[in-house]
Amino acid sequence: MEEQPGLSEQYTRASPWPVFVALGLVLTEFGVFLGNYLLPVGVGGVLLLEASVVGILRESGYVDSLWPSSLGVGLFVGGVGAALLTVGRFNRGAALAGAGGIAVLAAVGFCCYERGYL
């Protein structure tokens, strides 16, 4: 691994994340808003968006570790999902709550990993 520097360290003016933040945002809005059989597209979009936000924050050096931002986006998305559930939008609500939950789980994983439990 040490032999292979990552793109964003080797090159000062490159980052792999922006294009996926954009794609994640677009797929999220498209899939979640239209719902029905496009909902899976929305779920994929949310997951991509969550991962890219966590990734870009770390890569740009705004944060040092992965788990707090992962927890943050997870709670945010999960919160929106929960709010939709309470107003009776079951499918969309469950989709967002689930996608948020995955990010929260990932946060737990990152936390364990960073502290050396994994």
Partner: protein
């Protein structure tokens, strides 16, 4: 067992995520992302710290303002092609009064869809991104910054655009592969109740794309403001020395910041009305008038969002080829700021015929007439800059002078329209269409062409073909005036706008307009061919000052930067080598 679409989409999304993850692991050193990992973040790995990777990866991952400027410009040109093709389909249909040319492809419905996408594309996907393209490339150089304030947000803002565009254009292509998602036929103003009641998912898909493109614009604007205010080298470029293009980009940023959230909110409300049973634009309380107020409170500032930076471009370029300083620099800056503020106080001049309270119409008329004053200040300053100058009629200069001519007609017709009694007659006729085309193509388009030629040497290291550029100019100015004057005359005759068919008495001038449109098209073809060929094979520029700006003491920052870059390239083993290396990298 039948395969449900949910399943198909789930599998496809799963695959997409896997591909993304795979690509990322190939590119990134994940160890560097965790504090306990191997190399650790920030430590030197012993490998060279070059700026960018090679090949396609470079363009997908770049956060360099210059690369993003080029990407924005390329995107703008693709959108220009789509906007132009749709326009020509409409113009051909309009050559004769009846429905004939488009009849077998979709008739009036298709015409309405073309009309909608033409307007939206030209304003939001051609003009605005091309302005952002030049601003991205040049503003950091002009203000002596290393890059934009937030390079990654810059890249995110750009990448939203192509994805949003796919949604906005999808309605034209999905029916071809058997998916029943039709293009929106709402016109660019999206007036309710038409837009809130029109059936079809296609309208929603379009609105979602439009909504997203607004995010992109807003992010871009914030970035420009931050760059000019905070990243500017305050020693070399104090406020008093800030160039005019950056001033207009700063003002534009402010306008975007106040105008676009309104659009985003209004479109959100429209989407909710269409899909979730809200009644913002249906009931007594809000209704159709609410939409018009929200839309035009955004919409009029939007026209200045689009025209101010082009005015800045012309103010920047004209003096360079007139051999004198811009006349009344300060007044141009003040008039820019004045227009920026006043532009929020005139929106209801688009609604004079809605039966508003006459006291209101009178005050909106007054402010609309007032906004003509700072616009005129600029025109007089440009003319005075030319007066007694040593004019050099290069392509950028020709387009700048063409801008002034077209802007005068566009501006004066605008002032006429701002007068209530005149507007009551001309509202919703081709006169309005003529007015704004003089501005959006005749002025904004021309300024963007001027900028493209002016900075071509910096952006490509090569020179464009001068003869083709002259063809481009003359075909554009003749074709443009023929088409848009014909539209003004049609308007005086009472030809209503937005119709695919018309009374036979209007045929002559419609035919003239179509001929003019073809002339313009030939010009545009010359333009696209020229920049394409010249960027790849054009003659290499042989100095850092291809326009001889040093002579008149106007060698500005972006050219200084370019000269410096050329010198380092020479020191590194010659221009040819450096160029070829760049070529290889781009392949």
């Amino acid at each position: 067992m039948a395969v449900s679409p949910e399943l198909v989409f789930s599998v496809l999304m799963g695959l997409l995520l896997l591909v993304v993850a795979g690509w990322l692991t190939r590119l990134e050193d994940w160890q560097a992302y965790t504090p306990v990992g191997g190399g650790g973040y920030g430590e030197s790995t012993g490998h060279g710290h070059e700026e960018k990777p090679a090949g396609l990866t470079r363009w997908l991952t770049t956060v360099d303002h210059k690369d993003l400027g080029i990407l924005y410009s390329l995107f703008g040109i693709v959108a220009f092609a789509w906007g132009g093709i749709t326009a020509m389909l409409m113009r051909v249909e309009l050559t004769t009064p009846g429905m004939d040319f488009l009849a077998s492809f979709g008739g009036v419905g298709l015409y309405n869809a073309l009309l909608t996408t033409h307007g939206i594309t030209m304003l939001f996907l051609f003009a605005a991104p091309l302005i952002f393209g030049f601003a991205n490339y040049m503003v950091p150089l002009l203000v002596d910054a290393d890059d934009m304030a937030f390079p990654r947000i810059n890249a995110i803002a750009f990448w939203i655009l192509p994805f949003a565009t796919i949604l906005m254009w999808a309605g034209f292509f999905l029916p071809l592969v058997g998916i029943d998602i039709q293009a929106a036929k709402t016109s660019w103003t999206l007036y309710t109740p038409l837009s809130s009641t029109m059936q079809g998912t296609g309208v929603d898909v379009f609105l979602l794309g439009f909504h997203l493109s607004g995010f992109s614009t807003t992010m871009g604007a914030i970035n420009f403001i931050a760059t000019i205010v905070a990243e500017r080298d305050s020693v070399n470029v104090p406020w008093s020395k800030l160039d005019i293009f950056s001033w207009t980009i700063l003002t534009q940023g402010g306008l975007i910041l106040f105008a676009f959230p309104i659009l985003t909110a209004a479109v959100t409300m429209l989407l909710l009305d269409r899909n979730f049973g809200t009644m913002f634009f249906a009931g007594e309380g809000g209704g159709a008038m609410l939409w018009q107020h929200l839309f035009w409170f955004f919409g009029h500032p939007e026209v200045y969002i689009l025209v101010l930076p082009p005015m800045g471009l012309v103010s920047l370029i004209l003096p360079k080829f007139a051999g004198r300083k811009l006349f009344g620099f300060k007044f141009i800056v003040y008039s820019t700021l004045a227009i920026g503020i006043l532009s929020f106080g005139v929106w209801a001049h688009h609604m004079f015929t809605t039966g508003m309270n006459p006291r209101l119409t009178a005050s909106f008329m007054a402010i609309s007439l007032a906004i003509g004053i700072p616009s005129a200040v600029k025109v007089f300053n440009w003319i005075t800059t030319l007066w007694n100058g040593k004019l050099r009629m290069t392509a950028p200069m020709l387009f700048s002078v063409g801008f002034v001519q077209n802007f005068i007609i566009g501006g004066v017709t605008g002032v006429f329209l701002a007068a209530v009694p005149f507007d009551l007659v001309m509202q919703d006729t081709y006169y309005v269409v003529g007015h704004f085309h003089f501005i959006v193509f005749g002025a904004i388009g021309f300024a963007l062409f001027a900028a493209m030629y002016y900075w071509f040497p910096i952006m490509t290291g090569r020179m464009y073909d001068r003869r083709l550029a002259l063809w481009h100019f003359w075909l554009s100015i003749i074709g443009g005036n023929v088409t848009f004057i014909a539209m003004l005359i049609l308007g005086y005759g009472g030809m209503p706008r937005r119709y695919a068919t018309y009374l036979p008495k209007f045929m002559t001038w419609h035919a003239v307009a179509t001929v003019g449109a073809f002339i313009m098209t030939f010009g545009v073809v010359a333009f696209v061919w020229n920049i394409w060929q010249s960027a790849l094979y054009g003659k290499r520029v042989d100095s850092g000052d291809p326009w001889n700006l040093k002579q008149s003491d106007q060698f500005s920052n972006e050219w200084k930067w370019y000269e410096g870059k050329r010198q380092t390239m020479l020191a590194d083993g010659g221009e040819e080598d450096a160029d070829d290396a760049e070529r290889n990298a781009a392949d």
